[in-house]
Amino acid sequence: MKRSELLSRIFIMVAVLGAVGAPLFVWARTSLIHAKIAEDGGWNPDVIQANAGEPLHLKLTSDDVVHGFAVGQMDMQSVDVLPGKVSNVTLTFDRPGIYTFFCTRWCGLNHWRMRGTIEVGGSPSDPQSVSVPLYISLNLDIDAPHDSPVVPESKPSAIRGYELAANSPILQSLNYYRANSPYQVFDELSSTSLTESQRWDEVAHLWQSNTTRESLTNGQQLYAQNCAACHGENGAGNGVFADDLAAAGELSMQTMAGTDNMTMQTPVDFTNPTRMLGASPALLQGKILRGGMGTGMPMWGSIFTEEQIWDLIAYLYSFQFNYHRGESQ
């Protein structure tokens, strides 16, 4: 055949094969972590290997909607994982162990199920002591109902409680606060001569004295990012997914004998004094750590640090009490 024909054929073959082969080659060698909503599979891959002390470079992309990436209980800024774009993250782990990574931007009803693990190998360093959560050491049944038999007529005021405490002091230790529900403290004050409303005010004061402004701000932010979608922006249990959860509960066939109250249900209303005032911080910590066992409430144990959970709990009680502005101890 003529030379021009031969050259043309070669050129075409090279051009087309190159246009297919080169990108294919690069694609095959690119390891990306793909994020999809949980209903479509979540993270892929969802188990990552690493070594303690070595930097781990991750490339993340979303295949559908906006997601985010963070590793639980690590002090890191979450990284947005955007559809069609690639985000780069470098992590270094000091200690070996299993870390949980999770999605940080709401991506549907099952957003909280978007989790994976990073298995960090390496020689185990000195064993870290793990403290048992308070609700376990207190032997609390966090699934038992905890309605407060008495509720205040109006929102208790911490500043009035502060003023009252000048004459009727109240134990303010952190452990006392954590281990008792507001109702229990109210009940213990029945030995004093205070009126019911005054007793609630002192309870509010006790609560505020175990809360700092910083913890409230942190708690509010954590709440907005993690809880508001179900529990409502104003804590009333009417978040954007509340109806879907209730509907899922009705359709759910997960009822097992003895656990009918463990199907998906509408999220708790934190503005409801009956439920909230009967719950101690330790009980709330338990619920947050362990999750709702099929109710749709996620377990946060591997995600939040202990400090984050106490901050969140402090914020939850702020729906029940009028805290005053000024610094508290």
């Binding site: 909503i37 559908d64 909607v65 906006v66 955007l82 559809p83 069609g84 931007r105 709401w106 991506c107 549907g108 009803l109 957003h111 907005a224 990012q225 508001a228 979608a229 179900c230 409502g232 922006e233 978040g239 954007v240 997914f241």
Partner: protein, 155 residues
């Protein structure tokens, strides 16, 4: 000769319709607040109507994934994660009909997630109707007055 005159007449009418300033009924600007919820792939409500000059406050919240709201023509936007309401305030100082659309990729039909903001009179729409009417009348008029037989009655 006569047809040229009519052509000129229609062109003049067309220019007037296209360029004459719109009659504006002065309405006192108000403050308006709307709450818009976004889901894949629609807004609720998806059609808003305000008067020229109103100050609009949009409370925008997503109900399933992260969505945005971008207003064509005003070039302003807001983004919301589910359950986290964000506010967008602006003065509706440009009249017309503006689409607002999602500017955060939210799934397959994202480019078509669209709503409509109507500020005052939809001037371009009315001008277009005017021009279309003039064009139609002009054409029919030409047919009626031209010397060649073009109407069915002539057959």
């Amino acid at each position: 000769m006569q047809s040229r005159f009519f052509l000129l007449l229609f062109v003049m009418a067309g220019l007037v319709v296209a360029f004459a300033p719109f009659p504006v009924h002065p309405i006192t600007p108000q403050e308006r607040a709307f709450r818009i919820e976004a889901r894949q792939f629609a807004y609720s409500p998806s059609e808003l109507k305000v008067n020229l000059g109103d100050t609009i406050t949009l409370e925008f919240v997503s109900t399933d994934v992260v969505h945005g709201l971008y207003v064509d023509g005003y070039d302003i936007s807001v983004e919301s994660d589910p359950g986290q309401t964000k506010t967008l305030s602006f003065v509706a100082d440009k009249p017309g009909s503006f689409r607002f659309r999602c500017n955060v990729t939210c799934g397959a039909m994202h480019p078509f997630m669209i709503g409509n903001l109507s500020v005052g009179q939809n001037e371009w729409f009315y001008r277009s109707i005017g021009l279309a009417i003039i064009a139609t009348l002009g054409n029919i008029g030409y047919l009626m007055f031209s010397p060649r037989p073009t109407l069915i009655t002539d057959y």
